[in-house]
Symmetry: C2
């Protein structure tokens, strides 16, 4: 299967157009501003010295790289000469400061630290992100400076790791370069990059891969060789970047053993370790996957970057296997944890995305001793000390059309629904839709023989009309495949988007007797700010009707549901059940929570 690159698609209208506009017009500028104010751009000049403010950090180059990539994606459709100038200046600074081997890492250079001495130090991680940035910027502008520089740098890395073996470690402590090498291979077809990717993947977790000991192996997915890994383990972003690179390599080299490891890991995630929002990595300590069904809402870590990395992993899997579970997972991330990461105004970001906020417990955070666990922050910030997420979110949304289609010789697979126009060399396809607000999608095709449209896992009722007639289709792994289309065809799909209740398995201790509300792919939540009672203690009627009201602010509907709330009582424990009185609860999309001040929030309502 092949991907239709987002550059071939124009998102024309609707839900995602608004998000892309906000990212392009607000977010990249605001991230730039805050990165500049916090010394991240200045760091590239490598003039920092002890005593100066804003000491360069080991992952700062990757922050800049992701920002460059975001801009490169945006300028494919809308010129931003001011930002292009910034990037050209970055390239100049890097060129000036890279050493004779092409090595560039602003943190290492100013600290004059022995390079390749510490596996945890993100050198290969930063290099990987810079490679991605260079590739994207070259494609967008044709400018080669960054690309040439990174190719030279990779020659050096090749020598250090694959020829001399002179580094203190064999594989990166923070994976990322693997998938970046594939992007460069896709561009250049230079087999050397494939060889490097294989090297880092194949050595991982083998006796060659000496560094950490004991449990820390799991933290960086180095506990066993990757082909033997069947479960998602350790630091979540590291893990999913690795799995993405593994899936890339499995596809290109037709490595079924590697693919089977990816499949098993993917299933482990979506069947045992994923939040209803598409978030992953429930443990703050280690920012990590934990044991199956350990998905607390209040202390959910669920890092923004982790959800995005899961979407990318799923996307790579879709290129090998047509199974809607991958695109369903991407959809979960898109409309929930992916979007919750950024404020509605596009200026601020969540690093951690909790699934519940209980303000009465927040005082715990203010005391060094009166806490048994810290609760996540409850408001988005414009910049973090560790600001991996903001520029990751901007590049994710700017290239969201990457998730729309894959195709092979005779079939185009439609994975996501967005108003858009796509032109490739061989065919065109466009969508008109108000999805997810409406379940109706009108797809126009030209020169497409077969069309396979994803039936979302959440959807229980749908109909498809092809060229004015009820369509014949075959259901195959979640896709309705309509064969032998006319040269120009119009396919209309209607998914029932009536709000519904979602029940988690009883295996998750936190959600027994609790349920969430969804409308299409959008998960809802209740905020204290919109309800004049404790949303935590609300009990939803599971047979409630929902009333819907369109919100311009959210770009989708808010909902109202029926239920009950307890009458206030003073006893901690009582032989009498609390008296309950009827109440209506206002629900807003989860992605929009915390845009209205600090407030209680619940995704899973008691019933």
């Amino acid at each position: 299967m092949k991907l239709i690159d987002f550059r071939k698609t124009d998102i024309t209208d609707g839900f995602w157009k608004k998000r892309i506009d906000t990212v392009s017009e607000v977010s990249v500028y605001n991230v730039y501003k805050r990165f500049k104010e916090t010394g991240r751009f200045a760091a590239l000049n490598c003039t920092w010295k002890p005593g100066d403010p804003y000491e360069p950090h080991i992952f700062w180059d990757s922050d800049i790289a992701k920002w460059i990539e975001s801009v490169a994606f945006i300028i494919e459709n809308r010129p931003c000469p001011d930002l292009e100038k910034v990037i050209d200046d970055v390239a100049d600074a890097m060129e000036k400061n890279a050493d004779e081997y092409g090595y560039f890492n602003s943190c290492y250079l100013v600290h004059d630290k022995p390079r390749w001495s510490d596996r945890t130090d993100h050198e290969l991680y930063c290099a990987g992100h810079l490679v991605e940035a260079a590739v994207a910027y070259y494609i967008a502008t044709g400018k080669r400076k960054l690309l040439d520089m990174m190719e030279k740098y990779l020659d050096y890395i090749y020598k250090v790791f694959l020829v001399d073996g002179s580094a203190a470690f064999k594989t990166p402590g923070h994976e990322e370069i693997e998938l970046a090498l594939i992007k460069l291979y896709d561009l250049t077809k230079n087999e050397k990059y494939l060889e490097m990717c294989s090297f880092f993947i194949d050595n991982r977790g083998t006796p060659n891969d000496s560094e950490y000991t004991g449990v820390a192996h799991k933290y960086s997915q180095s506990h066993i060789p990757v082909r033997e890994q069947k479960t998602a383990e350790g630091h979540c972003v590291r893990a999913c970047y690795l799995y993405t690179g593994m899936a890339d390599l499995a596809r290109i080299t037709d490595d079924s053993e590697l693919f089977n490891a990816c499949k098993s890991i993917f299933d482990d995630i979506i069947n045992k370790k994923m939040y209803i929002t598409g978030g992953i990595g429930s443990a703050a300590r280690g920012e990590a996957f934990t044991v199956p069904y350990d998905l607390p809402d209040l202390t959910a870590y669920s890092e923004s970057c982790a959800a995005l990395s899961l979407a990318w992993f799923a996307q790579r899997m879709l290129l090998i296997e047509n199974d809607s579970k991958y695109a369903d997972t991407i959809e979960k991330v898109l409309y929930n944890n992916g979007l919750s990461s950024v404020s509605l105004d596009g200026k601020s970001f969540f690093y951690v995305n909790p699934l519940a906020i209980r303000t009465h417990l927040l005082e715990r955070n203010t005391s060094q001793v009166n806490t048994h666990e810290n609760l996540p922050i409850t408001q988005r910030k414009e910049v973090f000390d560790c600001s991996c997420c903001p520029p990751n979110i901007t590049r994710f949304i700017a290239s969201v059309a990457d998730f729309l289609y894959t195709y092979d010789d005779d079939t185009v697979y439609v994975h996501q629904y967005m108003s858009s126009e796509t032109k490739t060399d061989g065919f065109t396809i466009s969508q008109k839709t108000d999805y997810p607000n409406s379940g109706r999608i009108e797809i126009s095709t030209n020169n497409i023989k077969n069309l396979a449209v994803r039936i979302p896992a959440w959807c229980e009722s749908f109909c498809i009309v092809a060229n004015g007639e009820s369509a014949d289709f075959e259901l195959e792994k979640g896709y309705a495949k309509i064969s032998n289309l006319e040269e120009n065809s119009i396919i209309t799909i209607d998914f029932d988007v009536t709000p519904f209740i979602v029940y988690p398995t009883s295996k998750i201790k936190d959600y027994i007797s609790r349920a969430a509300v969804q409308r299409g792919p959008v998960v809802y939540c209740a905020e204290g700010a919109n309800n004049d009672f404790s949303v935590m203690s609300f009990r939803i009627d599971t047979d409630t009707e929902f009333s819907e009201e369109y919100s311009e602010l959210y770009g989708t509907y808010t909902l109202t549901a029926n239920g009950r709330i307890p009458v206030e009582n003073e006893q901690l424990y009582s032989r009498k059940k609390e008296e309950m009185i009827p109440a209506k609860i206002k629900l807003i999309p989860y992605f929009a929570f915390a845009n209205n001040g600090e407030s209680d929030m619940e995704v899973f309502l008691h019933y």
Copy 2:
């Protein structure tokens, strides 16, 4: 009000006789053995030097002291010459090693550390426990050596703290000495000890009380003067030892301001910060009280010593105010968190008493990175590095009759129900009962004018017969007061002990839609070991009938209740409610959990 000292009561039979026997015949011996094996007794010789095993720790003297006190309590009723010999040897060692001022602290002496230099170092805490031990041992045996030694030591402490002010701090970092001074004052009537107690209490939290800064003030209840404290804060055991001393002082000095602070704090605990088991201090970090309604079951800290200290605090409050909430709280501790602290065989102990165990989450503990919070250990141990709890439990149970009665000029208050015979100078009272297994108590009195018997808060139906006739009584703050008894009277009480369901307030996030089961004062739990399904996902029918079966092992009944369990399904989230099938659940007393191997456990069942 006056207390009837436990030494005047003989527990003759029934539930508590068995516990006292186990403590006397097994626990004190086993604690002795393990303390000896871990160098705690040898430490008193002050011959330890660097390189030797078992380095004396700052609180080891207090471990020994509580063990001595336990033995002193036990030998009131049953001679143990072997243990008395051990104590006499301890007294000899202490006498030999105490310095010219009477100072003794084995840890400080061997480390030659500047004394009174560090408020956190438990010197006054150890001294306090040694004072309690000396008092108890003197009362039991008439031997004065320990008592004389501690009186000399206190003279020195008086000089350092009250005269010279030469210590680096004003009040103890770990409170305890306050209540110990009251015990010594009760014995000696020496006003100096009352003055010392007042000094430590009055200076606490004042500008004089300089040491910690910021939040750590709360940790040791030093954030504001104690009379202004309205809520229970900080390290739980420190807090309740302080509150106990405050209540003692308030009573003796008739200090209503101090008493009102105690009342407000007590209500804060029982209305907002107490587990259904009488456990307190939900936070592992700081072993502390946290914010109201923050009472998680899985990560409950609920230290054994904390529950005991709450019972002692409540007991002191009973000496000022006849309100059954105090004795109800003591009863909660007695039958639940107090007893769960020790294994049924009397050999091993819980430091932390969780209210739920979910074995599938335990793997979290085994990894340094794959955890967001450590779960408590799930099996009792014979000795801990920090072994404050084991000898605290032994002295608590050995003196359990202290909780039975208080009296004033014309009324005896019966707070707890145990088969027992009590003789004081002025009157006698005895109970025949199989409480808590039966709700029937037959009380015989001689020369008691009025009798006030506690109607437990859990009890919804009872009757009282006095001398063969339905009794006239007045209900007053939870006590049924029967006036003008005959010189020799027999009062028979019947409490309905039918098992019932207890509903926590919806303000506790963890227990919404969950309920506990109680029979009399005994809280029940479900263990995985006794049920062939996940007890976590069981839903109890709230109108269930309970069947009862007597267990010799537990000394009380096990219960069986009706409910439903989910049919296994593989989906994390589903539009369909899980299918439920009927099931019966076996419940055992909470105090008996973890006597049957590692197993899941739940106190609060979903409904």
